[in-house]
């Protein structure tokens, strides 16, 4: 059964599943996985299905991953299903394993310390896909991981995989990666953001959850030099919650930065409480604002 691991803690030879329902959480974890791989001199391979290749590279760049530098020198490669799983018209786990083996050899020959692979597994649900290939693939990947040169994250979207497949995924992967969730209810979600490091909020926040927000901000400030407070998906924030962010920004010594991604009424509230005037704060306008 999988043990829950933070994406930063994955070590060479680890095989993890990422079961997600929030697309932002998925991209955040994938970005952190790619970022850490590039900085540790491994080759990185992204197999994408639900996100087009060019969008995935843009999403990585936006999250602080040096994809624009790593793609031309082939340290990072991004493949769609047509070039990987479905290269011969129908998915074939054995061919996929061959492809992985070749990239692993390439990485070795080119002097990289190993290969990191992250794979969107939603190809399995395509009409022509053979679901029987999934167990074969996961088992064979397990063997490749044996010598500690390969590290893999398989992504399973809760929306499209049935419970049986999700249970299978949890059983065959020794690790599960997930975002640290500080607080979650139907109205508000506060979780750790891995790339760029910080805190992400979604929904609505008011004075009743200032304590959880403060806890999350303090942990982010303890773990990282500069942090991002991502409020792009926050629909409402009251003065008390804005004050908690203000206090966290005030606690930063000179030279450390809190960037806040926000727009609309949330930005308006931050301006009203004076958070946007603080020396440590940089406002990043959210998309669609």
């Amino acid at each position: 059964m999988a043990t829950v691991t933070s994406v930063e803690a994955l070590a060479p030879g680890d095989h993890a599943c990422l079961t997600f329902s929030d697309p932002d959480e998925r991209l955040d974890i994938v970005a952190a996985f790619v970022r850490d791989g590039l900085s540790r001199s491994t080759k990185v391979m992204c197999l994408t299905e639900s996100i087009p290749q060019d969008r995935l590279s843009a999403e990585l760049v936006e999250r602080g991953v040096p994809a624009a530098e790593a793609l031309p020198v082939n340290q990072l490669s991004i493949f769609g299903s047509a070039e990987s799983w479905l290269a011969d018209g129908e998915p074939n786990a054995a061919k996929m394993i061959d492809l992985l083996g070749r990239h692993l050899d390439d990485a070795n020959r080119e002097g990289y310390t190993g290969l990191r692979v992250t794979a969107d597994m939603s190809w399995v649900t395509r009409p022509i896909a053979a679901a029987d290939q999934l167990p074969i693939f996961e088992a064979e990947v397990g063997k490749l991981l044996g010598d500690g040169r390969l590290t893999a994250i398989c992504q399973y979207d809760r929306e499209i995989f049935d419970a049986v497949t999700q249970a299978f995924a949890a059983a065959v992967h020794p690790h599960a990666v997930a975002a640290v969730v500080y607080y979650e209810d139907p109205v508000l979600r506060i979780c750790r953001q891995h790339s760029p490091p910080g805190v992400r909020l979604a929904g609505e926040i008011d004075y009743s959850h200032v304590e959880e927000l403060t806890l999350a901000l303090n942990e982010a400030l303890r773990l990282d030099h500069d942090i991002q407070v991502n409020l792009a998906k926050l629909r409402f924030m009251d003065a008390a919650a804005a004050a908690a962010i203000t206090h966290a920004a005030l606690s930063l010594p000179t030279g450390r930065v809190m960037s806040i991604v926000c727009g609309g009424v949330v930005l308006r509230m931050l301006r009203l409480v004076g958070a946007t005037d603080l020396g440590a704060v940089r406002v990043v306008r959210a998309h669609g604002d």
Binding site: D238, A240, A242, T246, V265, R268, D277
Partner: protein
């Protein structure tokens, strides 16, 4: 009530002693609230604010103001499920009026509460300062029997 204190102004004393807008027989929204129902209250205010003709930006302001008023009533005005606060919302000519009342002990100094900026390091007390900056008119009616705050947002306002 003779002991009641009244204060009407935005940032200065120009509107002192003007009467608070009074609700018509039928209002767009009349809802009671306590700490548990602030989320639903915000959602109702947003829906009705748009119906009353406010722009999207101004609806955001209205929700912000309604929440700060209502959360003040919950945190300081003693609004509970047994003795809930009350919010009424209506259109008056070119304005939308939002009135929030509680039966708490009243404000100590309605003439001066929230007229100065609150320093970033302060732990609380921002609500009324923010409300005064967002609304076009604020009327405070407070006494030992409770507090009613009435805010006016002009349909063509919200330049700030």
């Amino acid at each position: 009530m003779a002991t009641d204190r009244q204060s009407t102004d935005r940032r200065g004393p120009d509107h002192r002693n003007a009467a608070a807008p009074t609700p018509p027989a039928e209002v767009a929204l009349d809802q009671t609230f306590d700490a548990e129902s602030l989320v639903a209250l915000r959602s109702a205010v947003a829906a009705h604010g748009a119906d009353l003709g406010l722009t999207e930006h101004r609806v955001g302001d209205l929700v912000l103001v309604a929440h700060e008023l209502a959360s003040n009533a919950v945190r300081h005005g003693g609004a509970t499920s047994a003795s809930p606060g009350r919010l009424r919302l209506w259109r008056d000519g070119g304005s939308v009026i939002c009135e929030v009342s509680d039966t708490g002990p009243g404000l100590a100094d309605p003439d001066h509460v929230g007229i100065r900026p609150v320093p970033p390091a302060a732990s609380n007390g921002r609500g009324l300062w923010i409300i005064r900056r967002v609304v076009d008119l604020l009327h405070i009616d407070t006494g030992p029997e409770g507090t009613t705050l009435t805010t006016t947002l002009n349909l063509d306002g919200g330049a700030e």
